[in-house]
Symmetry: C2
Subunit: 474 residues, 2 copies
């Protein structure tokens, strides 16, 4: 039987433990002020949750270990919290309980330049990492949009715009320091090790990638860094329909042109981004494409090949060779797509979906989804990393409007079922958190869910690590 | 407490179970003839083991499930066996027990051409897979040399010559059908699913990659397939020293030239390959390099850039632009390096090592290893996938010579310790099996070993799955 928490019992256990928490990390690391607790109550999703009873701010792995051991001994649930940029409620303290903020665990990124790896502490965000290593000519490519912490991106199995060329977090993490529920500190590949490959022992690195705080707290990540491309260029291309835009992507992949990014914005998203980011893009389904290469010729060849494919799918235009400034403004607009969509409606919060389907099904699933929005008169934009078959619908909603919320929830259910019927997944990069738990059994099958529980119970027998997240009930 | 097997008890339990095995899959699937059992007694390593008490040859996953359930209920140990091409004794029946040969589980590879994935049953080897999909212009790149089964390559976390460009098995497996010890059949990513990425649930696919039969039997693998390169070329280049050859590799990587393969053969291996494969290579440390590209120009540019780097490291020659036939013969010679090394000594079997170190340490570790061989007067060749920092020493040995065996074992110990001191691993691609268990604790640390046992015990509480392999004793 899994432990069932009673909120009152948790509250009492925490109150008794406050002096012990203070002994571990000093009183300034134990935050009970309501204003602080409220800061850690929500991520960027539409979910609402009570704040944690206490926020702990350890400054090193030993303190994390001691906090976890204590909570484990006393049955106190723990929710790890990074930058709070998650979109599925994964870092919300739904039971009250202890929130462990990892952002005070600081330290300079340790770059091993010749080995193309860098180790970071939880406080390092992806932009901070890139800033720290920019002198080296190397960069960390995974970019989920938000300036999330790298360790948080590990926990969520994040990806983003250029996963098509550089892979997702799973392909870019090579070693992790993790603290288990009982306080055990371990290094998945052995302390300090960073060979490019290994067949030694179980692949625990990957087991913790995407575990969303349910198996342990990630206190250090060693990630791959890549040489910055010597030559870059971009193209913007619009189409009469989303189906044509998506079909273009499929054909680009089939010709194996190594595009670095290929992003789709549907008409509504283009309108939103034009308004928000002060652009003048044609109001049609549009692809943003980026090319990386080691010579101008290589980049030009890729561009020409893609232009041909776009034209064969009746593109309305093909704008390439933009200046660096224009490229930067386009990608900034792409990264701000979420906020642009929200800005379409005053006072709205975002409800986002995140399905990913096999490439062969992409064009159909996207155009069915666009039709679904239109038919049901739902305000929403389609935007996504279509080179991976991954796309989002951003739905600006008014939190208090329950009828609208139900309508959107029904749309989201239909979208997920459409993706699952196409052999896809309910989440390409946002994780399961709270929001996708109900789909996981349908996606993975009963036996895989049971195995998740088996592993969870083995690593966290008292179920203190982010309880109520990811795993559906047995 | 882990179950300790007594060979006599196992033998008795198996004898009693023979009629039940026959009921599950027919009498022809239950092989007790000594000649058959002997076939399944060894892999290609130097380890010696008694044959299994019985070899089971299921023809489908349901039979595997029933066999495992029965063995689990009766505490009978099981060793899965693929093509028997392993190099660390991982598929040997050290306790007698049941060998489950997976090679009668047959079926045509199922290619999803537009999605760049293909599903294979255990009988499909990597060459058979490539043969089955050659009409599509796609190929499966992972090539460990031997014509291993793809599912066996999953179990071992194999890689090979072109992992540097296309990744190892870990990066190329996207879904697995697995049978657990208790007979449960599951699909790690959900049945039939093949999105290019997913953040849904725990990454069990990767947990089974490299689990070497200790966590379950792999009965189907869905792997990535890649567009065949439109243009290929190769170069052969020799150097005055292994240090210079290895330093060249490091610099090629640092310039991020996307070579498809880069293999080192030291002088002794070149001599062996010249003799075995009827070549006339210069008897010096030599790199075989392959370039893939989408245009002749791209391949020529890569070749020219690599030639410059080779020259700056005082290469003795640089032979590029070989005919297709010559390229084929060179790669055949590379794949036959193991047999060429063995052929240096009549009646010898191979003892191979398989360390992998961070690139920054590669040149030093390889040249120290070559010196170690020379100083101790040990016959051995250095050969490897140096682009990954992974190299092998192939040591042709006479099995009966115990003194020599000890000498080689000491050399192997020193090599592993050298790799571990360089932040590397004791195995880049051969797996742990029997041979590397003794190094795993030193490599991963006590806490990670304990976590391996925790997970093993959760998935296989009676310890029937390939007992005595991979995990060091607690």
């Amino acid at each position: 039987m899994r432990r069932v928490f009673s909120t009152q019992a948790i509250q009492t256990a925490i109150e008794k433990s406050l002096p012990d928490f203070q002994k571990i990390a000093g009183s300034s690391a134990v935050r009970t002020q309501e204003s602080v607790r409220r800061q850690f109550a929500r991520d960027e999703s539409h979910f609402i949750s009570p704040p944690p009873a206490v926020v702990l701010e350890p400054t090193n792995v030993e303190q994390v270990s001691k906090f976890l051991k204590l909570c484990n001994d006393r049955g106190i649930p723990i929710v790890p919290f990074g930058t709070g940029t998650g979109l599925e409620g994964g870092s919300m303290s739904t039971l009250g309980g202890v929130c462990i903020s990892t952002q005070q665990i600081t330290g300079e990124p340790e770059l091993r330049e010749q080995d193309f790896v860098c180790s970071v502490k939880p406080s390092t965000t992806r932009l901070a990492l890139n800033d720290a290593i920019k002198h080296s000519g190397l960069f960390f490519p995974v970019d989920p949009g938000a300036d999330a912490s790298v360790c948080g991106m590990v926990a969520t199995s994040a990806s983003g715009t250029n996963a098509i060329r550089y892979g997702t977090m799973k392909e870019n993490v090579i070693n992790l320091e993790v603290v288990l529920a009982d306080g055990t500190i371990l290094h998945t590949k052995g302390k300090g090790r960073c060979p490019r490959k290994s067949s030694a022992g179980f692949n625990f690195t990957e087991l913790f990638v995407g575990s969303e705080g349910t198996l342990g707290v990630i206190t250090q990540a060693t990630v791959k860094v890549h040489p910055r491309p010597q030559f870059l260029s971009a193209a913007v291309c619009s189409f009469p329909s989303v189906h044509q835009a998506a079909s273009t992507v499929v054909e680009i992949l089939q010709w194996s042109i190594p595009v670095a990014r290929i992003e789709l914005l549907d008409t509504v998203q283009v309108q939103a981004s034009n308004a928000y980011s002060n652009l003048t893009l044609r109001e049609s389904p549009t692809l943003f494409i980026e090319f990386h290469g080691s010579s101008e010729k290589e980049v030009a060849d890729q561009t020409a090949a893609v232009e041909d494919i776009c034209k064969s799918h009746e593109s309305l235009d093909f704008d390439s060779g933009a200046s660096d400034e224009k490229m930067a403004s386009l990608w900034k607009a792409r990264h701000n797509a979420y906020y642009a969509a929200l800005a379409m409606r005053t006072g709205a919060r975002g409800f986002t979906t995140d399905v990913c389907v096999p490439i062969s099904k992409l064009a159909d699933v996207i155009s069915e989804t666009r039709s679904d929005l239109d038919e049901h008169d739902i305000l929403g934009t389609v935007v996504g990393h279509v080179g991976d078959g991954n796309f989002h619908v951003i739905l600006p909603t008014i939190e208090e409007d329950k009828t609208e919320h139900r309508k959107i929830q029904s749309f989201s259910d239909r979208l997920v079922r459409r993706a699952l019927a196409a052999d896809g997944t309910c989440t390409g990069e946002h994780g399961i958190g709270l929001g996708k738990r109900k789909y996981l059994r349908e996606e993975l099958g009963e036996n895989t869910i049971r195995l998740m529980h088996t592993v969870k119970k083995a690593l966290d027998p008292k179920n203190i690590m982010n309880p109520g997240k990811v795993l559906p009930e047995l």
